[in-house]
């Protein structure tokens, strides 16, 4: 009976998800190019937010260096696409992801020795190292100008199929599918025994260690997975914009990821996704009135920290749906 009730209660959620899926699938048909473009960016930013949240909300580590993995992925993808004779999108994306994961493994191995403020400083520091490379290693990264002329390569598996990606709509669907898979996997991850162990590490490191869980290894795994999510947010960017420039590695971009996660609400699953959406809505609305939108973003963040610490999703959850996890 209880089980039945549970299923019944969940039903609106499925309805909502279906509606959302239909809306997103139909978007390029009625939304126009600008909206499509913005929604791609919302999806990428929500991936970055998820990456921050896996560390912050689930593992209890504040990273100010997620942009480093974005940049590793983006530059990796760009380099691969530029080097290939007939560029293939999948090769660029997965190659870039591999690079981002490798970088995250090395940096994470060093970073998880610390927690709290020292962890934040270390990630900031490594992030800025990657930034300085992107800025100064001219022969490799193009320096300040970045890498330009990156093709939006077709999605193809030789001998099987090939889809032209040059129309924005096609690329939109590609990003949508990749993001959808990533979000689904994230949901499975945080609700798996591994995800629960991470949360217990967040709540009490020593108690978790007593149950026989290797805390540091778990943190490292979480760090690498978070790096992959940030990397995914990065690799999908160059084919869209046709360029990569150093600001993607700067710590203020990492800060944006943290703001997105806080805006939606850490400790919630959907928080970063809602946060990314809100971020762009806020940006778009304020930009219509003034070019100084960061000023207002700052004010909103202030209000958030002082008054609405659970984030928007956290607040909705407390107020309307106390029994559900969003």
């Amino acid at each position: 009976m209880a089980k039945l009730k549970e299923t019944f209660k969940l039903k609106p959620v499925y309805l909502f998800l279906t509606a959302l899926a239909i809306f997103l699938l139909a978007l390029p048909q009625f939304g126009g190019r600008y909206l499509t473009y913005i929604v791609i960016h919302v999806m990428l930013l929500s991936l970055l937010g998820l990456s921050v949240n896996l560390l912050l909300g689930y593992t209890g580590l504040l990273s100010f260096g997620q942009a480093a993995f974005c940049a590793s992925g983006a530059y990796g993808c760009a380099k691969i696409l530029l080097a290939m004779d007939s560029p293939s999108l999948l090769a660029g994306v997965f190659g870039g992801l591999l690079i981002a994961g490798a970088v995250a493994l090395v940096i994470g191995f060093l970073c998880v020795r610390h927690t709290d403020i020292y962890f934040a400083m270390l990630t900031l520091c490594f992030g800025m190292m990657i930034y300085s490379l992107a800025l100064k290693w001219r022969s490799m990264t193009g320096g300040d100008d970045g890498l330009v002329g990156i093709p939006r390569a077709p999605l193809e598996i030789p001998g099987l199929f090939s889809i032209n990606m040059s129309p924005m709509e096609n690329y939109y669907y590609f990003v949508l599918i990749m993001t959808g898979i990533a979000i689904f996997l994230f949901y499975r991850l945080v609700n798996s025994p591994f995800g629960l162990s991470l949360q217990s590490i967040r709540d009490s490191e020593s108690r978790t260690a007593f149950t026989g869980i290797p805390v540091r290894t778990y943190r490292l795994i979480a760090f690498v997975i978070a790096g992959l999510y940030a990397g995914l947010a990065g690799v999908l960017l160059p084919p869209l914009e046709n360029t990569v420039t150093p600001p993607i590695a700067h710590w203020s971009y990492s800060g944006e990821g943290v703001i997105v996660a806080l805006l939606g609400g850490i400790y919630t699953f959907t928080g970063p996704i809602v946060g990314a959406l809100l971020f762009f809505v806020i940006k778009d609305v304020i930009m219509r009135f003034t070019e100084y939108w960061l000023f207002w973003l700052g004010i909103i963040v202030l209000a958030l920290v002082l008054g609405l610490r659970g984030g928007v999703v956290g607040a909705i959850q407390r107020k309307f749906l106390p029994k559900m996890t969003l």
Partner: protein, 270 residues
């Protein structure tokens, strides 16, 4: 030396309040702008405008501590960092609104322009003046912390906050004054930097990361460390540009990472 001034403020604030203040670079920037406005635009006396800008920025810092930082002392680290980060966004854009996006340079005050000959080489008087100020601030801080009543209460609050409070030290008041003091030191750095460097929106963001490097190398909350750290980073920046321009930024962060990994308490920490 600019680095030392900003790092000194950051160190004092962190030592006492235990807050890593992203907004500190902003106070540096505002110090620069205030001096530029008073001295470069309104044509006030250089020294008077220096003092006025320090006071105004310190008052602003006090306001921020009182209204905002005070609310988050007991919260987790992410909220504290993000709160101070928000001030960067706000004041960077505010500076853009007020002073415009272009960089500003007022002239070097006439009393301090020109060069003197040091060891047979021409050396700008103004740079000498900055170095002197930096050293003076270092000595001044050492004296204040070591010899005055205020300095003693600070040290008491650093080592045992509850006990100090129980002994009748007004901790909130102490926090307020310390924050204002740290702010003023950063603003001094900014104000002095104006005639030789430029002040632009975003300079605060640039400086704060370098100041983090300095404070971490020296050990968070450690003044002596911050002084040496500033010298190391300063040397590295100027000589690095001469010899290995590609790796100049990189080495700075690499040193920071190594220090954090091996001696998180800093080279001079206990």
């Amino acid at each position: 030396m600019y680095l030392w001034l900003i790092a000194a403020g950051l160190t004092i604030v962190f030592g006492v309040l235990r807050i890593l203040n992203f907004a500190h670079g902003v106070f540096y920037m505002l110090g620069g702008y205030a001096t530029f406005t008073l001295y470069g635009m309104l044509g006030l006396n250089f020294w008077l405008s220096l003092v006025l800008s320090l006071i105004s920025v310190a008052l602003l810092g006090g306001l921020i501590e009182r209204l905002f930082l005070r609310q988050v002392y007991n919260l987790e680290l992410p909220y504290q960092l993000i709160l101070t980060y928000a001030f960067i966004l706000i004041f960077d854009d505010l500076a853009k609104m007020i002073w415009g996006p272009m960089f500003k340079i007022p002239p070097v005050p006439s009393a301090l322009s020109g060069t003197v000959s040091v060891l047979g080489r021409a050396f700008p008087v103004y740079n000498l003046f900055i170095i002197g100020t930096g050293i003076a601030v270092a000595i001044g801080l050492w004296l204040i912390l070591g010899r005055t009543w205020w300095g003693k209460t600070i040290r008491a609050a650093v080592s045992e906050r509850e006990m100090a409070s129980a002994l009748g030290i007004n901790i909130p008041m102490l926090f307020l004054t310390v924050f204002m003091f740290g702010t003023a030191v950063a603003a001094l750095g900014g104000a002095l930097s104006v005639p030789t460097r430029v002040v632009t929106p975003g300079v605060g963001m640039l400086m704060i990361v370098e100041a983090f490097v300095v404070t971490v190398i020296g050990g968070l909350g450690n003044l002596k460390g911050a002084f040496i750290g500033a010298l190391i980073v300063g040397m590295l920046t100027s000589y690095g540009i001469m010899f290995i321009p590609i790796l100049q930024l990189f080495t700075m962060y690499a040193i920071m990472a190594i220090v954090l990994l091996i001696r998180p308490q800093g080279i001079f920490g206990r």
